[in-house]
């Protein structure tokens, strides 16, 4: 530094290179942005003209960015990785790339890119196509709306909200997979309950023995190997919840022992239960399940004495 300060004017090209590298160093020191005043203070030996040429060179080679902030113009170091990737592309392409990068693994919709970049639709389309062919970004279909495509960087794993988690493959909800898991979970819990019933222990112990934690169910399902994708405990809990809605399973929450595998000190326990009643009487008559009962009256097109459902039921 001292040497360069003392150096005579004829060594100017060396100084210019020196100045550029100094500015880059300073940019690293101030990741929030480097103002012109800081450069001037740290390198008083260069005049304004020299600084301007150096900065212009840095900007044109894409090593720094010029940004406007509340305190005036600031310089920021450009992400070198991004620079290397979008090398050879123009300004607009770089801009779009940055927007997509900011969206992370949630992805961004094409309309939002247009709004943020202020570019025309045709331009954006062209750029996106370009970037896609370079394998810098990829388009992912969202499960929320099947027609909606979102863009994200090529190497990113899409977020759960985009893919829908383990229950979706290619935007389709795997209802069969869910059904199978639902049945298997219930089978497991039911076996456990049957074992508890046969144990001949006192009633309280029987009930407690029938309870199974969600992690045990998870282990059982993992060992069965039904699922190609790796399921989490939370996934299994959503399946178990559907069993609760089916009225086949009951849940209780207990405080987990210290160091247990459950989060937040809670342990979710599930157990298979028997139904409260037999199918209700109304549904044992043909009228209970009749689809046209609204139009049924004596003398009508549909009437009890001519009812074919009733006839089938009586002949059975």
């Amino acid at each position: 530094m001292a040497e360069s300060a003392n150096a005579p004017v004829k060594q100017e090209p060396v100084d210019a290179v020196n100045l550029e590298s100094r500015i880059l160093e300073l940019c690293m020191e101030f990741p929030k942005g480097l103002t012109d005043a800081i450069i001037q203070n740290s390198m008083p030996q260069f005049d304004a003209q020299q600084r301007v040429t150096a900065i212009n060179r840095l900007l044109s080679t894409g090593q720094v960015d010029l940004l406007k902030s509340s305190t005036g113009l600031v310089y920021k170091l450009k992400d070198s990785a991004a620079v290397s990737k979008v090398k050879g592309s123009d300004h607009q392409e770089r801009l779009v790339y940055q927007i997509i990068e900011a969206a992370e693994n949630k992805g961004i919709w094409i309309r939002d890119i247009r709004f943020k970049s202020n570019l025309l639709l045709t331009q954006v389309n062209k750029i996106l196509k370009n970037l896609e062919s370079k394998k810098l970004i990829k388009a992912v279909k969202s499960v929320a709306a099947s027609k909606k495509k979102v863009y994200m960087l090529y190497n990113l794993e899409p977020d759960r909200t985009v893919t829908g988690g383990a229950w979706y493959s290619d935007q389709d909800f795997e209802s069969e997979f869910v059904e199978v898991l639902n049945q298997q979970c219930f089978k497991f819990l039911e076996q456990k309950a049957a074992l508890a019933r046969d144990s001949k222990a006192d009633p309280m112990a029987q009930k407690n023995a029938a309870y199974t934690s969600s992690s045990d169910v998870w282990k059982y399902i993992s060992e069965l190997g039904i699922s190609k994708v790796q399921l989490s405990i939370a996934d299994i809990e959503t399946i178990l919840d559907t069993l609760i809605y089916d009225g086949k399973v009951e849940r209780t929450v207990v405080a987990a022992a210290a160091g247990g595998d459950a989060d937040a000190g809670q342990l979710k326990l599930y157990r298979a239960i028997s139904p409260l009643i037999q199918p209700t009487g109304l549904m044992k008559t043909p009228c209970g399940v009749c689809p046209v009962i609204k139009d049924c009256y004596e003398g009508g097109a549909v009437s009890p004495s001519t009812c074919i459902y009733m006839k089938e039921w009586l002949d059975y």
Binding site: D202, Y245, G247, P275, I277, P279, L282, T285, C296
Partner: protein, 527 residues
């Protein structure tokens, strides 16, 4: 009253008491309060016919009368009592399981005749019992009377209202005032029992008309024998309700738990007022003492069962305090609500399938949900979930609330929340039950009408063979008569029998649902 309920009333009354009574009752049902003349005008029947019909209805406790402000006598029909007529077989069965065959016949007689004196009930019961045993065994009247007193003491049978003897100015009062004091409602006067005995002895001894007439005019005796008795349906309903609860416990937990609950209910019968929504509190010790010894359940186990019952999601019993080793109550209102919910859920399950069942229960648990949340929680693909949900919405099992974000109710800025209103759904299902029950009755009548000729023929053949048997005719002759019914006819007859049985069986099953729904709605009103 809804149209389907009126229709069912008409069908029930027509089947039991004929067309005239049914049409008078229906006219009355439409009017609420109605004087005699108007009734005759509306129904287009002669005054005499209407009078007779009203007599029948009053006899069966279906109609009461009162004097309005202007001095008219008005008649009121109790439609709910008409609808209860389909439940008669269940009352009779209750009496049989509780007190045996004589009680069964007592209740049957009382139900068939509406109101009866003790003397007549006992006499008819004895006659029928002897007939059933074909005279092999003599039935003692003391046994039957004992059963009757049992039924009265347990409130299954109660006294009818009777004209007040103290009303002096009978000329002024155009209507007899019917009343019975609450203390006397379930009391069998000693005189009634003894008097009956002595009268009978005298009558059988002297065997003359004059003697019995003399006794009847005797001051004290005549006043006693004018006491009429009838079946107390609300007591039977209480029993049926308790049965339903015990069954639910047996199904959800196990037989022993059901026995514990049964013991608790038996205790509460004694301790709790009729119509109370919550049984009075009882301790574990009390329950233990009330449990029959043969179950061999220790007190500790009972304590465990109590804990189990109170911790269950249906909350069969609830603990109210720790005194006396834990006081427990049975909350009838809560339990009936749970049962009613279960019946509605079962209806959804059977009618729409298990996926709809899942959505329905989800809505019951989470109250208000948006379409998208339903799909997520129930894990049903969006398209299918929509279809299922809208089908239930169409059939009014699910209701919808609009919550607009802006005052213009624009669909894009509105939340659509789906929910289930249990009260409304149970009303709707009850209507459906009435309609189904009516349909079954019509179908049964239709089947019998279709095969009227064949059934008549069988009846004739049966009558002939019976008379031949009595006269001791030749077996070959009897066979000849029996062969008048050809084999295809026989097959048809068994088929008809099978069909009527099936229909009657489902009528009873249907009543199961009706009972729970009615009880739930009744309790929901009581708050």
């Amino acid at each position: 009253m809804s149209s389907s309920a009126t229709r069912l009333c008409f069908l029930i009354l027509k089947e039991r008491y004929g067309e005239v009574v049914a049409s008078v009752a229906c006219c009355l049902a439409k009017k609420n309060y109605c004087p005699l003349r108007m009734l005759s005008q509306d129904s287009g029947l002669k005054l005499d016919q209407v009078k007779k019909a009203l007599c029948t209805l009053i006899q069966h406790n279906l109609v009461t009368f009162q004097q309005n402000k202007k001095g008219f006598i008005e008649y009121v029909i109790h439609a709910e009592k008409v609808l209860q007529q389909t439940r008669f077989p269940r009352y009779i069965y209750c009496a049989k399981t509780l007190y045996g065959d004589p009680a069964e016949l007592i209740i049957e007689e009382l139900l068939q005749h509406g109101q009866m004196t003790l003397e007549k009930v006992v006499q008819r019961t004895i006659d029928r019992l002897t007939e059933a045993m074909e005279g092999k065994q003599n039935v003692s009247s003391t046994l039957v009377k004992e059963k009757f007193v049992n039924l009265v003491q347990t409130h299954f049978v109660q006294r009818c209202t009777s004209p007040d003897g103290n009303v002096e100015n009978k000329e002024v009062a155009s209507m007899p005032v019917l009343s019975v004091s609450p203390e006397e409602l379930y009391v069998v006067p000693k005189m009634e029992l003894d008097g009956f005995e002595s009268r009978k002895r005298k009558r059988s001894g002297e065997g003359s008309e004059a003697a019995s007439k003399r006794i009847k005019t005797d001051e004290s005796e005549s006043s006693e024998s004018s006491i009429f008795w009838r079946v107390n349906v609300s007591r039977f309903h209480q029993y049926l309700r308790d049965q339903a609860i015990v069954q639910a416990v047996a199904s959800k937990i196990d037989k022993n738990a059901a026995e514990v609950v049964r013991a608790m209910l038996r205790l509460s019968e004694v301790k709790t007022d009729e119509g109370a929504l919550v049984a009075s509190a009882m301790t574990v010790t009390e329950v233990f003492q009330n449990l029959p010894r043969e179950f061999g359940i220790s007190k500790q186990t009972i304590e465990q069962y109590m804990k189990l019952l109170s911790e269950d999601s249906s909350e069969f019993v609830s603990k109210v305090s720790d005194s006396g080793g834990g006081m427990y109550v049975i909350n009838f209102k809560k339990l009936i609500t749970v049962l009613c919910r279960a019946h509605i859920e079962s209806a959804v399950q059977e009618r729409f399938g298990s996926k709809c069942f899942r959505i329905f229960r989800l809505l019951l648990m989470k109250k208000n949900l948006e379409q998208k949340q339903i799909e997520e929680y129930a894990m049903i693909p969006s398209k299918e979930a929509k279809e299922l949900l809208y089908r239930m919405f169409e059939e009014k099992f699910v209701s919808l609330t609009e919550v607009p974000k802006t005052p213009d109710h624009a669909p894009s800025r509105t939340f659509y929340l789906f929910s289930v209103n249990i009260n409304q759904v149970s009303r709707m299902l009850l209507e459906r039950c009435y309609q189904a029950c009516g349909n079954l009755i019509i179908r049964r009548e239709h089947e019998t009408k279709e095969n009227r000729r064949l059934l008549d023929k069988q009846q004739r053949v049966d009558a002939i063979t019976a008379s031949m048997e009595q006269s001791g005719a030749d077996p070959s002759q009897k066979e000849e008569i029996e062969q008048m019914i050809t084999p295809p006819e026989k097959a048809q007859l068994t088929k008809i029998k099978h069909m009527t049985n099936k229909i009657e069986h489902s009528e009873l099953q249907l009543d199961d649902t009706i009972f729970i729904l009615q009880t739930y709605l009744q309790y929901a009103h009581m708050k």
